[in-house]
């Protein structure tokens, strides 16, 4: 329905990635309107950005790469996932005291119990890749939510592909 808008957003995101590559200090979102700003300490990010090494910093730095996505019933790590996990590993290597949980999820088109096990398998696939990148296994835990916590709420392939995911969440 909002396909053109979505494309525009994607375009903005892409330029933001490019910008970020050149100038790491660039704001991730526009700063608050000067007229309305009463505090500079918002979670949305300021010119300073979130505290380095925080979960907010991780989310901001990952630019969406805190999640990887899977095909129906699959748990393999494809090249796109590898790039995302490499970025995650880089961040985790930079903050060696940080621990993280990988949350495994499934789309709604499977049975509840199997999806719990499949989500766990996906979370483990992501964890194993991070460990392979040199992150200590003891720093990464996993949890599966099966199909119980979708992010996209439609009942269509577009939504399902967004829900078949493993999300890395760092622990503040």
């Amino acid at each position: 329905m909002n396909q053109p808008l979505f494309r525009n957003l994607a375009l903005i995101a892409t330029s933001a990635v490019a910008l970020a590559a050149c100038a790491p200090k660039a704001p991730k979102v526009l700063p608050p309107d000067p007229g309305n700003a009463v505090s500079t300490n918002t979670t949305g990010g300021t010119l300073e950005g979130p505290a380095p090494g925080s979960q907010a910093d991780f989310v901001a730095q990952m630019m969406g790469q805190d999640s990887i996505y899977f095909d129906t019933d699959k748990y393999n790590i494809d090249s796109q996932d590898q790039a995302a996990l490499a970025a995650q590993a880089q961040w985790l290597a930079k903050y060696p005291a940080k621990r993280a949980t990988v949350e495994g999820h499934c789309d709604e088109r499977g049975t509840r119990e199997y999806n719990l096990a499949l989500g766990e398998r996906r979370a483990n696939a992501a964890k194993n890749y991070l460990v392979g990148m040199g992150i200590d296994a003891s720093r990464i835990s996993t949890v599966s939510y099966g199909k119980e916590r979708p992010v996209a709420l439609g009942s269509d392939e577009g939504s399902w592909s967004k829900n078949r995911r493993a999300v890395t969440v760092t622990i503040d």
Partner: protein, 455 residues
């Protein structure tokens, strides 16, 4: 077995409570002994029987401690519950007490057959209520063939005030078993997951109710997501999955003490708890490094036995009624399929070859069928023989999953999820696939687990 016990109970109670003027209760037809010859009675004549169920009479209208009121009001409520049991399951077309004359106490054992013949009733259920000592109530239940002018069955129970609906269910069970030749099932309970809230933040609470939805009770607050409950065969506890500590683990909820404990401490995720039919074992599934296998452990505590060892997801499991075999789900062949093994884990072999995926197998309590979820685009409830033959669909909707059997193996409950909204509901269907209905629950419901017939 269960039927025999029930009839014995009925006979004992009636000996104590009823005047013995009527001929003894004729034993219902022996139930099929778990054979594979059982066919589905697809066009049973008894389904069209006209059954009259007038208000139960009382010798003296006195107050009771039941929620229904005085013995007279209770007599009306009993007949109403029996009528609803027989009607809502698509079994019969009974006429209830609101539309019938009220027989006197003296008529209970000598019905005015002519009156009922003139109303075109073919069967008549009459009964009485009496206040017993200690606040208890005694309920008598009689089934008559109006055309023959003959009593077909009778039973009686003395119950605590809070259990008066059980007397009605027992009466409906007697009528159903006597007329259909099937085993009874109304006097049973259901555990399920009550769901509220938007699709991405559903609150999932453990809840229980009678087979007709009455006596509903929430057991957990919803702060932690609860899933996949299973009643213990003695109804004393419930196994279920909870995220209480942030991770999926199996808890055992004690219904006497309202206390819950971990089934077993584990640093790995645990899923899919199941009881053995005798309650002595618990099956569970545990993921280790992403690989899920099925284990069994004595329910009273002890050493776990690993039953599967395949690289992949082995999960769930349901014992055959004699406890000798387990049907379970595995994706070792590349997709979810149904397998059978011996209870010690030996002789694992696939039985589902239908195309698509086959999941959540549940062995019928009478042994002759396995209910499961078939996934081929939509999710549908189907049944097959224990050998994997004679596959039939029972439902045809967008998403039906997780079947559970009525205690007599004639009706299956499952949950249905609505496309887009994600709203869930507990539904049931009989083995003909024709009588499908939604159970009324206070909020949305999923993961029904039907317990056995209560003793």
């Amino acid at each position: 077995m269960k039927l025999a016990r029930f009839v014995l109970l009925g006979a004992l109670c009636s000996a104590a409570a009823l005047a013995q003027t009527a001929p003894p209760v004729a034993a219902p037809a022996a139930p099929p002994s778990g054979g594979i010859d059982v066919t589905v009675s697809d066009d049973s004549d008894w389904q069209d029987l006209g059954i009259a169920i007038p208000s139960f009479a009382t010798d003296a209208d006195v107050p009771t401690q039941t929620s229904a009121g005085s013995t007279s009001a209770l007599g009306f409520s009993l007949a109403s519950v029996i009528t609803a049991d027989l009607k809502n399951n698509g079994l019969f077309k009974p006429v209830g007490p609101a539309d019938l004359p009220r027989p006197g106490f003296g008529e209970v054992q000598s019905p005015s057959y002519d009156t009922w013949r003139s109303r075109s009733a073919e069967m008549l259920v009459q009964g009485y209520v009496r206040a017993a000592g200690d606040g208890q109530v005694t309920v008598g239940c009689y089934l008559y063939d109006v055309a023959l002018g003959q009593q077909l069955g009778k039973a009686g129970w003395t119950v605590a005030p809070g259990d008066w609906r059980r007397a009605a269910h027992k009466c409906a069970d007697m009528v159903y078993a006597r007329l259909s030749g099937e085993n009874p099932f109304f006097d049973s309970r259901i555990a399920y997951i009550a769901e509220t809230g938007p699709k991405d933040r559903r609150m999932k609470r453990l809840a229980i109710m009678d087979s007709d939805g009455a006596n509903h009770r929430y057991l957990t607050t919803g702060q932690a997501t609860a899933l996949t409950p299973r009643y213990s065969p003695d109804y004393k506890s419930i196994l279920y999955l909870s995220y209480f500590n942030g991770q999926p683990r199996i808890y055992i909820y004690n219904l006497d003490t309202n206390r819950q404990d971990l089934l077993l401490a584990s640093k790995n995720p645990l899923f899919a708890p199941r009881w053995s039919p005798d309650g002595k074992w618990v099956l569970y599934s545990m993921a280790a490094a992403g690989n899920t296998d099925i284990y069994k452990i004595p329910s009273g505590g002890g050493t776990a036995v690993k039953l599967t060892d395949s690289p992949g997801i082995d999960i769930g499991g349901s014992f055959s009624p004699d406890g000798s075999k387990i049907v379970f789900e595995s994706d070792r062949s590349g997709s979810q399929q149904v397998y059978v093994m011996n209870a010690d884990g030996s002789d694992q072999h696939r039985i589902s070859f239908f195309g698509g995926r086959s999941a959540t197998p549940e062995w019928s309590p009478r042994g002759d069928q396995i209910a499961f979820t078939h996934i081929a685009g939509n999710l549908r409830i189907g049944v097959m023989s224990p050998g994997g033959g004679e596959m039939r669909y029972l439902t045809d909707s967008w998403q039906d999953e997780a079947p559970t059997w009525a205690p007599n193996g004639r009706i299956i409950q499952f949950f249905r999820t609505a496309r887009t909204s994600g709203k869930t509901g507990v539904w049931q269907v009989d083995l003909t696939g024709r009588n499908e209905r939604k159970l009324e629950t206070p909020v949305d419901g999923s993961d029904p687990a039907w317990g056995p017939l209560r003793p």
